[in-house]
């Protein structure tokens, strides 16, 4: 246990000193501010352009923005934020393979599974903190400008999206244990998500795919029921666990 905590501490120090924490913080804060800002500014921009548009024969009707517009932005932007997260953290294992820094700790008797556990935990922790930051900022602005109560199942939809992030982290950890290069890990994660979006077109299996968790927008508008997420949630949690467990097994036998 102590060694795991030491490793987590070391990972955290690295996040801080390498500047990755600052980058993530800035990106997620930026997205958090952008969501309400875009919702607020779009009508204003449209009004400003209305005259020119009118000359070309187009009439623009501007409706007042609501919290829903801001949340729509949130669910449009959060995939970008997740991509940035994966890009920034994708080499958390492979960086140590190429530099050989891990060999020294392992030859001191550090159990291999502790490396996997500490890295997975730090990823989960970072994703959770970043997600809450982004969500919290958007929530606060929305509450200030409009009224969040128009959005239904807000907390639940956010949980679903957060869980999707955990699922992606599960993939990241597993592929990091299997593969050697950071690019390969990113490619493999991307490929799985892409394959899921393709499979998503088959309407029959939509609700069991982890990617269904990203339908937060539909959820807050009331287009889909909360209950329809049960399968996707269960499957995502299961896959995340399986990925992490498999990562430990693979990593135990990995040649470094």
């Amino acid at each position: 246990m102590r060694a795991t905590i030491v490793c987590i501490k070391k990972e955290m120090t690295e996040q801080v000193r390498s500047g990755r924490l600052v980058i993530l913080g800035m990106v997620f804060v930026l997205f958090g501010i952008m969501n309400p800002a875009v919702a607020k500014l779009t009508p204003w921009l449209l009004t400003a352009m209305a005259d020119t548009m009118a000359e070309t024969g187009m009439t623009v009707t501007v409706s007042d923005p609501t919290a829903l517009d801001s949340w729509a932005q949130f669910y449009k932007n959060i995939p970008m934020a997740l991509i940035v997260f994966v890009l920034v953290e994708g080499a958390i294992f492979t960086r140590e393979y190429t530099s050989g820094t891990m060999i020294l700790s392992l030859t001191k008797g550090l159990k291999r599974y502790k490396v996997v556990v500490s890295k997975a935990l730090i990823l989960i922790l970072l994703w959770t903190a970043c997600f809450i930051l982004c969500f919290g900022i958007t929530y606060a602005y929305n509450e200030y400008y409009w009224d969040n109560s128009v959005a239904g199942s807000l907390a639940f939809s956010a949980f679903c999206w957060w869980l999707f992030g955990i699922f992606v982290i599960g993939l990241l950890v597993l592929f990091s244990a299997v593969l050697r290069s950071g690019m390969a890990v990113l490619g493999a994660c991307g490929a799985v998500v892409f394959a899921m979006s393709l499979a998503n077109m088959a309407k029959k299996i939509t609700e069991v795919l982890p990617i269904y968790l990203t339908e937060g927008q539909a959820l807050i508008c009331g287009r889909v029921e909360k209950g329809s997420f049960t399968a996707a949630i269960a499957i995502s949690i299961a896959i995340s666990f399986i990925c992490m467990a498999a990562a430990v097994l693979v990593f135990n036998r990995k040649q470094l």
Partner: protein
């Protein structure tokens, strides 16, 4: 024996690197593991550390069997890779503290050990982060981290190869200083380093050990009865050659002869009688270099 390797085989693809390597490292020795680049030194060491899975063979460290992956025998071993890499965002002190914490050492013991080792490797006053360290500094920190858990066996993979003469001297001094505390195995292709500090050696060639044993024994075993004579002028050599036809000219006013063919006394007498001035007359000691070349068949 602190390290015992028996019949070790390993191939990478169709390249057979180790072909039944056997080696014994006695306790409290400084063991030179000598071989050309690509002879299998690093592979052998990494297998001992459980980082490479052997195809066949057994390794015992302090009597315990080494298994691939999580091997418990690593608690006896301190390892210094050829190019040690540390977390660049830490300072030397922080890194050693991290090593101590990972091995679950008491805080007090850890702090005193860190001080002791930083002093030993001369990094006590170094406050910068590791990313700014020179190779020599990294190598010295590498020794410090390898020694941290007071290992019974210190394995160093080519610790001096990448260093300048000053850095090499420093590393060799540290290694010979720690021989009181631990057994040192280090691989190298720099023979003068071996001659400076090793008590035992093993030559690896073609995936097997071709010679191994105490350095002094090996030198004795390969010592021959050859003498080298160098005169000041070429005429001197000619005169000696004429009088002692079994001697062989070896270029540059030098000749070699064997004691069983010619008596050294007679040659000395001949030199005095004919007033031939010489540069040197010496017994040809086998150097590791000649041994190495002999072993590698060059």
């Amino acid at each position: 024996m602190i390290l015992h390797i028996d019949g070790l085989y390993k191939s990478f693809g169709d390249k057979e690197v180790l072909k039944g390597l056997c080696m014994d490292v006695p306790e409290k020795s400084v063991f030179g593991f000598i071989g050309k680049n690509g002879a299998g030194k690093t592979t052998t060491m990494k297998t001992v550390l459980g980082l490479i899975r052997p195809d066949k063979g057994e390794i015992r460290v302090n009597g315990e069997k080494v298994t691939y992956g999580n091997t418990a025998t690593n608690r006896y071993i301190g390892y210094l890779p050829d190019v040690p890499e540390f977390y660049p965002f830490m300072t030397a002190r922080e890194y050693l503290t991290f090593c101590g914490e990972v091995t679950g050492m008491e805080k007090k013991a850890m702090e005193s050990r860190t001080d002791e080792l930083l002093e030993l490797v001369g990094l006590k006053d170094e406050k910068h982060r590791i990313k700014g360290f020179s190779r020599g500094m990294k190598q010295r920190l590498g020794i410090a981290q390898a020694l941290f858990g007071r290992p019974k066996l210190l394995i160093c993979d080519e610790p001096t190869s990448a260093l300048d003469p000053v850095g090499r001297r420093e590393v060799l001094d540290i290694l010979s200083a720690v021989r009181e505390q631990t057994t040192v195995v280090f691989s190298t292709h720099i023979l003068s380093d071996v001659e400076k500090i090793c008590t035992d050696v093993a030559f690896i060639e073609n995936g097997v050990i071709s010679i191994s044993g105490k350095l002094s024994d090996i030198k004795k075993r390969y010592r021959n009865d050859k003498y080298i004579l160098e005169t000041e002028t070429p005429e001197g050599i000619c005169a000696v050659l004429k009088a002692f036809p079994s001697a062989k000219e070896s270029g540059g006013n030098m000749l070699t002869f064997s004691e069983k063919d010619e008596s050294v006394k007679e040659i000395m007498l001949f030199l005095v009688e004919n007033d031939i001035s010489i540069v040197k007359l010496e017994k040809a000691e086998p150097t590791l270099e000649t041994l190495f070349l002999e072993v590698t068949g060059k």
